[in-house]
Symmetry: C2
Subunit: 227 residues, 2 copies
Amino acid sequence: MPSSGCSPVAPWRVISLSEVRPLADPEVARPLRKDAARNRKRLLAAAGDVFDAQGLDASVADVARAAGVGMGTLYRRFPTKEALIDALVHEVLEATIEMARESANRADGTGLEDFLRKSSAFQAAHPGCLPKLWNTDHDMVKTARSLIGELLADAQRQHKVRHDLTGTDVTLLMWSVRGIVESTRSVAPTAWQRHLDVLLAGIRPSSEDLAHRPVTRKQLDAILEHG
Amino acid sequence: MPSSGCSPVAPWRVISLSEVRPLADPEVARPLRKDAARNRKRLLAAAGDVFDAQGLDASVADVARAAGVGMGTLYRRFPTKEALIDALVHEVLEATIEMARESANRADGTGLEDFLRKSSAFQAAHPGCLPKLWNTDHDMVKTARSLIGELLADAQRQHKVRHDLTGTDVTLLMWSVRGIVESTRSVAPTAWQRHLDVLLAGIRPSSEDLAHRPVTRKQLDAILEHG
DNA sequence: AGTGAAACGGAACGGAGACTCCGCTTGGCT
DNA sequence: AGCCAAGCGGAGTCTCCGTTCCGTTTCACT
């Protein structure tokens, strides 16, 4: 069947799938059909809306309805509800990592605070998947952590934050903001800003050290496993 | 039917029910039969254990089994799962209020920090009902808030905490600790202490005010309504 | 235009869990 | 001792929700 005399473009060729299937497994994968790709985007957008509004307990049927597709479509694209949530988490983590990279460009010691303010704002704008944000997607979480570690080190070099602060402290700080966002978003959507003010005041240099020992990295890793 | 010639002690008399039925409605109520009172205590204890271990998603059947009673017994004592949780919340809030009163006796400005450390420790020891702690039982929550307000005022008078801190800030602070307890209890049950260290550092007097406006009392009240 | 693999919709399934019902038991009173 | 309201256990009901199945439709390639 040599139609045009050459077949350099086999039907199974792999070309820039990252745009269409950001979560594709490492095996050979076909690009999605146009309608399928469109529905995948709709589903993710709808899931974000629905979970933002109702929390992760919202039913997948609600998501499918909001996306204007049937259950079958949803489940062909995301094999379980968890996979759907993971995809949302993936997006938020990706954005968070990007923000950490941008803040790192400052290198004047203000990157950490800049990052904390921006990433908190982003999370406040995407509250739906917050409960799962730091309990999944091990690799991205670790990437984020190491970037945050760099931001922290820089801030400490420039004497912008207390010397006894650790990376795990900063992680807890972010979880703390997440908790406030979750608790207050319905009636005081910007309350986290005030809370972050207090936290930032708490991490500034001080003559007296924090009274208790920090959490170890290993302990936080354990949360990822059986979160 | 005058059996003993007098009936000063009618079967419906109301005597010191608070011990047996702390949540009894304001209407006329009989004391519980001995076995019923015993089972009520067992149920509350079991519910605490089960929810502490598995979270509020644990099934009521698990609670009944842990208490060694049947479903019927559980539901005669607590008409819904929510009522059972409310009873637990009630206990924790009661203890919290008591702690606030004790701390207030200091009146040397250290009461607030003392209260925050003790109540956090107590909550960390009873994590099961934390998600509902501040969303139910309006009256007790308001009592707690006003006591906290007094602790704060005293601390500010003695220049132990920053002058621009409000009662709502302290409330958010407690919610924040709650979030950290919930997130870390499985692998780092004392992590909240370190986090509280940071928060306490953040509320100490400072030359620069917090950047954002505090949440209003009214906003926090709204959370109680439709939590 | 024709074809078939991929995708679609939504009804049906299965399991989990909150809650109810009812026949049996027991504490507390006379 | 005897009565009976109160209490008890736990099987059964009902609803909700994640997931699957399958007949129909649509894309994409020839």
